[in-house]
């Protein structure tokens, strides 16, 4: 049994960073591509749907108290198929984390350090993630909890600093391309919240009293992320209206560049990088941890630390697999924010169906 315990607030912070980091990269752009002026409503609609799915998955976890999703999968599907499904989830987190590493590295090159080799930036990110995981998930979770407050303050300040550019008319028409399109996008966009499933793999890090709160942690973290996405997309649309909003690589960077509050407060995009890079290292570390945790539980390995070096290298390799930045962004958007939900929500829902229909689970008995 795992001796390391992560508290309620700390786990919520971990999830907020794991899911919400998209706001710092392409999420606002992609959402306005799909929703146009209704983009600011899409996070609410898709978030509500994702929340509903999470509540169903949480019921599955309640049926198997104290067991992570890896164990539940094997119980329901048998060892062979169970391991295969777990490995699919493992691959999903591995690939998305690798692609994010590439995007974050490219972001630094584009915004701050055009002369620096891309690999040097990627290695720096990976070193940060490795260092955090070497000290353990407890340190990572506490760092997330502490950092989240400052990241939040930074974000709110920067969004508020854009107030002179707010144009509320740009949020209309409310339904963008129309209600049908809005609904379709809402369904697809639930993928953006898919990382919430990581919570189901981290059950062993909860104390017995906190296990009952897993559902609540998921709800809270998704609630915070919905708020974050909505406010970010709303400001983005008001400052850079559709269709201009679909043309930026890193929307928030563009927003920071727009800040002009007199002679001395302008061109503060470099400050943005402090927040973004900090959060990015944390996101890569959390992603790597979830990946290793799934593998550890699937293959019944007692410790994940020996795998750290190897998987850092693997992430590095995945990050450099796409030919260029455009291909990376495209892959990441499709994989993580559009179709990823088929894996992150689809597979667990399949398990739910098997468990509920088959009457399986300790509590069901």
């Amino acid at each position: 049994m795992n001796k390391i315990r992560i508290g309620y607030s700390e786990m919520t912070a971990v999830l907020v960073i794991l899911i919400g980091m998209k706001a710092f990269i392409g999420y606002p752009r992609m959402i306005t591509e799909h929703g146009a002026t209704a983009g600011w409503l899409l996070p609410i609609a898709s978030g509500a749907l994702a929340l509903g799915l999470w509540l169903i998955i949480a019921r599955l976890l309640e049926r198997f108290p104290g067991k992570p999703l890896t164990a539940i999968t094997e119980l329901l599907l048998g060892p062979g198929l169970g391991i295969a499904v777990n490995l699919i989830m493992f691959c999903y987190f591995l690939v998305t984390t690798g692609l994010l590493l590439r995007i974050f590295s490219e972001l630094v090159i584009l915004s701050l350090l055009p002369e620096t080799p891309l690999s040097a930036i990627a290695v720096f990110y990976l070193f940060g993630a490795w260092y955090a995981l070497y000290y353990g998930v407890e340190a990572l979770a506490r760092s997330s909890y502490i950092a989240l407050v400052y990241i939040g303050i930074g974000l709110v300040t920067s969004l508020a600093a854009l107030f002179p550019y707010y144009d509320f008319r740009m949020l209309f028409p409310v339904m963008g391309f129309g209600f049908g399109s809005f609904l379709k996008s809402s369904v697809f966009e639930i993928s953006s919240f898919g990382e919430v499933i990581a919570l189901a793999y981290l059950v062993s890090y909860f104390s017995s009293s906190d296990r009952a709160k897993i559902k609540k942690i998921g709800v809270w973290s998704m609630g915070v992320v919905i708020l974050l996405f909505t406010s970010m997309v709303t400001v983005y649309l008001m400052v850079l209206p559709y269709p201009t909003s679909t043309e930026t690589f890193v929307p928030i960077y563009q927003l920071y560049r727009s800040i002009f509050l007199g002679h001395y407060v302008q061109r503060v995009e470099a400050v943005f990088v402090i927040f973004a890079a900090f959060t990015a290292i944390m996101r890569i570390a959390i992603g790597l941890f979830v990946t290793l945790q799934i593998l550890k539980d699937t293959l019944k390995i007692p410790y994940y630390r020996p795998l750290l070096g190897l998987f850092s290298l693997l992430l590095f390799t995945i990050a450099f697999t796409p030919q260029n930045i455009v291909e990376t962004v495209k892959l990441e958007s499709l994989f993580s924010m559009y179709y990823g939900g088929a894996i992150t929500f689809g597979l667990p829902l399949l398990l739910c169906a098997i468990a509920f229909l088959g009457g399986k689970g300790e509590k069901a008995k």
Partner: protein, 638 residues
Amino acid sequence: MANFWEKLEEKLFNFKNARYQEKFILEPGNEDKTEDKGEGKAEDKGEAKGQAKGEGEEKALDKAKDADQDKGREQEKDQAGDKDKEQNQAAAGEKEDKERDADQDKNKLKKPRKPLPLHKQKEKRSGKPEDLYVSMDLETNREYLNKIYALSKNKDIIIRDFYIATKPPLKAFLIFIDGLTDKNIINNDILKSLMVLIDEGEIVEERGRLAEYVMEHLLPGHDVALLDQYRSILDLVNYGNTAIFIEGCDKSLVIETKGWDRRGVGIPQTEEVIFGPHEAFNETLRSNTGLIRKALRNEKLITEIQKIGSRTNVDVAIMYIDDLANPKLVEEVKHRIASIKTDYIGVAGILEQFIEDAPFKLAPQVLTTERPDRVVSFLVEGHVAIIVDGSAQALIVPVTMFSLLHSPEDYYLRVPYGNFLRVLRVLALFITLLTPGLYVSVVNFHQEMIPTELLLAIAAAHVIVPFPTIFELFVMEFAFELIREAGVRVPGVIGNTIGIVGALILGQAAAQAGIISPILIIVVAITGLASFAIPNYSISFGLRFIRFVFTILAAFFGFFGISGGLFLFLVTMVSMKSFGVPFLAPVGPPVKTEPDVVLRGPVWSMEKRVDYLTPLDEIRQPKISRGWIKNTRGGKQQ
């Protein structure tokens, strides 16, 4: 021949024993006293030490010594018994009969053991102080001491021969270390008492209880111990006590005569405040514990003493409030100190390195302070204080990052002023950590952030400098560190002069020579000033070091490097623990706390003690601590 002497000695012994009983025991009122003495000494060592908490450690130590002494006596009895069996079984049988007779005699003292002949004793003993016991023969004791202290070479060990003015006069000598002892006590209270001030009619004939008699009737010292094991005697003599050996007596009297030259209670050197006490610890343990007891007048304040350092044998005081400090914490502290196996621990800084959790991390996990009032404030929170004899600092455990950034003055001032200082200090922390890195980043990578005029000014100042900014910065930082170190090492006035002259002349000259840009001097100066605003010397050191890491990262990666550095810094800090308490508590992990983390609330609003220490008494004060308030908001009406 040996048997003859043995029998003679035995007869003399029995004769004197009978005389002694007539004189001291059978007199009314002496019976109880004797009973007490006999049975009181039967207390085992553990019991005596167990009483240390309540009675003060000095007394407890004495009791422990008595217990040691009893144990030693029993050992010698065993030895004597073994020898008898081997050498003369007949004589032993006779002796046993006589002993039995003596036991049956009413209200008599236990018969003192019969000593082994000297040459047999010498054969038996290994010669180490741990195995040696005080002999009845004065010359043998002198021989032992001569060997142990190498008196032919060791010139500050003094042996003074004299006669105790009893009838008949008793030959004796005392031993002490010159420079550690108070000569006035030795002359006036020991020698004068024993040689001059005794009544002429004083008759001491009971040799078996000679030392006890001298202690109870002739010596006026407040702290006298009767010991028979050389190890215990030597430990006390080495710590400024005086031991008296008396002819025919198998115990030594050890009298408290400590009196070395010591520094008085001075003012704090590194933790000065404007408001609040100006007392600081000195190098004497008793003085330091006294300063704490003076401020914390509570019978539950415990001072436990442990000895550390196999060669230095230094006393370490562990202080805590018995009904407040978490027993697990106290046990952990005691365990860590007791487990240290080394020959030398002279000062608190060395002990700190032995007991801290992560020696290679840059932040300290033990708070070092020279202020008794600060120690008291931590003790009443449930912390444990450790004081090393010979060190003018106390160690406080456990400690958090936030307590290292607090200053005693924060609490002595009114809330707004105290908070102002705290905000200033937090800013100082970030300035000292990040300013050089930010400067290097902005100048090298993010020039667009700087308003044009300022950018031009920086560029104009830098245009004549032939070095890259990072090189300039490191040169200046290095010079600043040199000035700081030289200012500390060079005595008094000259030290200050070096600081001012070094900074002014060096900076001015470097700027004029075109080696360093003037703006960089401002950056380094502000950074240096900010580092002085950190109240804890130890963490200030750590921050200075980490600053270089941030500067290097900034030189390579600009703001991205600083961001990464901040992440690594945060992860390192949250992973640290001090005696099981997370270093960033109560923020990471989040635990319940009163308003006293970065900012502080009014003193009357801090009703509970910090949660992460799990103190035995959580409540510091009632919800309404200001009894004079008639109508309270947020509190119940009284």
